[in-house]
């Protein structure tokens, strides 16, 4: 069967089980879009900015637990994807980004809308390709998906010159993918696991630290089982929220710069840390020498580079979290359960004391809305069942602290790169993946404006999302730093000049609502969440509210600024 490059591309994308593409057309990909018109079963969601296409694909991948796909044109289309790709890279999200490229004969000639996107994205993709011959196309696409979803997942970019898309060849189905230089280790070393069993039996103050790797490997059941079986309290990084139920008594909350008092104190005091799918980011560890100083650390990760990178580890285990934790649980089940559970009364008692003396807290009066109150009410009204995306800054931290996530894949945020403007396109991507779910973007007044154009995408594609804007008329997190460490010199952080978000929503054809008093919060959320279509709910919140606890940059995480 003779096929064009564009036909092969669509055929291969479909054969990977993809049903949705987020994209934006342009000259270099016009042949692909022409072909796309023949495939109503492959849904194309037309974004309004290419950055949005990648964030949407990212969130689609995370909500669905599969690969997300975006398609953009050459030059500016391609460069606009870079922030999204870098974010997916740091959060290990499997996406494949197809970029158009000028005719291969023109490459290197500074042609119109030509850019070396393979060169630009080399350091922020797991791998990338420039397809020079149509003969290589099918196999390259199959490899791209394979690399994106296996091992430690990540973004893969495939650059497609226009002439490769129009060229015709006899199509041959590519065979199984074997890359001799790429063989991720899934199965852990069993000897190491027997060591972990002994460590658990000896531990007096054990702690589980779960991260994004637990979400990616779909092993939150295994983590929960381990915690329950051995009676070990659990903390989870921003990327790992939801892997362990936020309503469980063993839950400690998130650790790190804005972690809970009890999570940070527990890390400071534990004698065993079982870390799964985490990379010990500086926002978690604070000053490295003071991080878990008394603990033996077990680290499970599929990526060997994550181990020994930031902290020294006593028991490194390279392997898939799901496989490793399942095996560990199997081994523990064979042991005497009283030895596995040990006597935790003193340890858990200490944690309870930390929890009761220093809980997360804020004071809601009758006058001004506290942002934390909005998040708590949102959690109550959605019963924790909504998929929550966030922008970046205070809105993100309050959501992490006050929306007690019970399930994985329900919290979608730009963790590693910290992209303002992530939340709205991410909400659209999550809604495309899970149309039956309520999807809410928690935003700040600054970050919502960074990709506000995606409101149109949501309306046109029939993907209704709810946007909660915590409007404090500041770039709140930077202002918080200026308040604490820069003598309150609010340099360029006031956002006094802002659009009327209610009118803005209406101008886009969405619904706009506003609450300015604490008494209006619940009603506004109830109405807004229940309303059909896309809704912006603006909450005029306390301008100078701070995110606490806070560990000053470079400090030990047990030394927190508290309310």
């Amino acid at each position: 069967m003779k096929l064009t490059g564009a036909q092969i591309l669509i055929k291969m994308i479909k054969s990977e089980g993809v049903d949705t593409i987020f994209g934006y057309p342009g000259g270099a990909v016009i042949d692909i879009y022409d072909e796309l018109a023949n495939h109503p079963d492959l849904r194309h969601i037309l974004v309004r900015h290419e950055q949005g296409a990648v964030h949407s694909a990212d969130a689609y991948a995370r909500a669905k637990g599969d690969v997300g796909v975006s398609l953009v044109t050459s030059g500016p289309g391609a460069t606009n994807t870079v922030t999204g790709i870098a974010s997916a890279y740091l959060d290990s999200v499997p996406i494949v980004v197809f970029t158009g490229q000028v005719n291969s004969a023109l490459i290197g000639n500074d042609a119109f809308q030509e850019v070396d996107i393979v060169g630009i994205t080399r350091p922020c993709t797991k791998h990338n390709y420039l397809v020079k011959h149509v003969e290589d196309l099918a196999r390259t696409i199959k490899e791209a998906f394979y690399i994106a979803r296996t091992g430690r997942p990540g973004p893969v970019l495939v650059d497609l010159p226009k002439d490769v898309m129009t060229a015709t060849i006899e199509f041959e189905e590519p065979g199984e993918i074997h890359i001799k230089s790429y063989r991720p280790t899934y199965s852990p070393n069993r000897k190491q696991l027997t060591k972990v069993v002994e460590l658990i039996k000896q531990a007096k103050r054990p702690l589980i630290f779960a991260g994004g790797g637990v979400v990616l490997s779909k092993s939150s059941d295994e983590i929960t089982k381990l915690a329950k079986m051995a009676d070990i309290p659990v903390t989870a990084s921003l990327m790992g929220l939801g892997t362990f139920p936020g309503s469980d008594p063993l839950w400690l909350g998130m650790p790190g710069m804005h972690g809970t008092y009890r999570a940070n104190m527990s890390i400071g005091s534990c004698d065993l840390m079982i870390a799964a799918g985490v990379r010990f980011d500086d926002r978690v560890t604070g000053r490295i020498e003071k991080f878990a100083p008394n603990a033996k650390i077990v680290q499970i990760d599929i990526d060997p580079t994550s181990i020994h990178k930031n902290v020294s580890v006593d028991c490194p285990i390279v392997g898939d979290c799901k496989k490793t934790l399942a095996l560990l649980n199997e081994l523990l089940e064979k042991e005497d359960s009283s030895e596995v559970r040990g006597d935790r009364s003193e340890w858990l008692g200490q944690i309870d004391e930390w929890k009761s003396t220093m809980p997360l807290r804020y004071d809601q009066d009758d006058e001004i809305i506290k942002p934390q109150f909005v998040i708590e009410t949102l959690h109550e009204l959605t019963k924790g069942n909504a998929i929550i995306t966030t922008e970046v800054g205070q809105n993100q931290m309050w959501t992490a602290q006050y929306y007690d996530f019970d399930k994985p894949n329900h919290f979608i945020t730009s963790g590693g790169l910290g992209v303002m403007g992530f939340g709205l396109p991410a909400a659209i991507g999550a809604k495309a993946a899970c149309p039956d779910k309520l999807v809410v973007d928690v935003a700040g007044d600054g970050s919502i404006q960074m990709n506000i154009q995606e409101l149109t995408t949501s309306l046109e594609a029939g993907l209704p999302v709810k946007v909660v804007i915590l409007n404090n008329r500041y770039l709140g997190m930077v202002r918080q730093w200026q308040d604490l460490f820069y003598n309150k010199r609010y340099s360029s952080t006031p956002m006094e000049c802002a659009p009327d978000f209610v009118k803005l929503a209406e101008a886009y054809g969405a619904t706009g609502m506003r609450a300015s008093k604490p008494s209006e919060v619940r009603e506004t959320l109830e109405k807004g969440l229940a309303a059909e279509g896309t809704v912006i709910m603006e909450f005029l919140v306390e301008r100078e509210e701070m995110v606490y606890p806070m560990v000053p940059a470079g400090g030990a995480i047990t030394e927190m600024l508290l309310v």
Binding site: V118, G119, R122, P123, K126, H127, L130, I147, I179, K180, S181, Y182, D303, P304, T305, H308, K309
Partner: protein, 168 residues
């Protein structure tokens, strides 16, 4: 921990952009490249990179892991603590005034290298060996006036079975 010199033999797919991936990894993560030499392995679609770098144990461990993580890197061998042969080739163009010619040829003879180009006013000497040997001959030739030099950077192979991939 102290910085130590290491020499790696890295087998990679012979594809465009591979060298840039490796160079980008080093510059992006702040590792040093002291010398680098790359060529395709005859009749294969792989290339061998010999690279000298330096760092403490922690950095060297990360360098090896990060190199392995690149999809196009097939193997990374740290030759530093293994038995290996190491060579570098240099071309040295030196002023050859009539009164110095005999002396230069004597030095060439002692170092067992050879003159590969002769002009009215210069000799070009081809010299291979380990870095110390190259440095020694350059020191001796310096008084005559070295015009320019070109060096390949080190290449190295393990003495025992580690070089089994060669030629495949």
């Amino acid at each position: 921990m102290k910085d130590q010199k290491h020499i790696f033999s890295i087998l990679v797919d012979n594809e465009p952009g591979v060298l840039s991936r490796i160079a980008g990894l080093f510059s992006g993560r702040g590792y040093n490249i002291d010398s680098l030499s790359v060529a395709q392995i005859v009749e294969s679609n792989a290339s061998r990179i010999t690279m000298e770098t330096s760092g403490d144990d922690h950095i060297i461990e990360q360098i090896i892991k990060q190199l392995h993580k690149l999809i196009n890197v097939i193997t990374v061998i740290d030759l530093t603590d293994k038995q290996h042969v190491k060579r570098e080739l240099a071309l040295i163009k030196v002023h050859a005034k009539p009164e110095h010619r005999a002396e230069i040829l004597r030095i060439v003879d002692i170092f067992r290298c050879r003159v590969v180009d002769v002009g009215h006013e210069h000799y070009t000497i081809e010299m291979s060996g380990e870095e110390e040997k190259l440095r020694a001959i350059m020191n001796l030739l310096k008084p005559m006036g070295i015009i320019e030099t070109a060096r390949t950077g080190s290449i190295a192979l393990a003495r025992e079975k580690e070089n089994k991939n060669n030629g495949k």
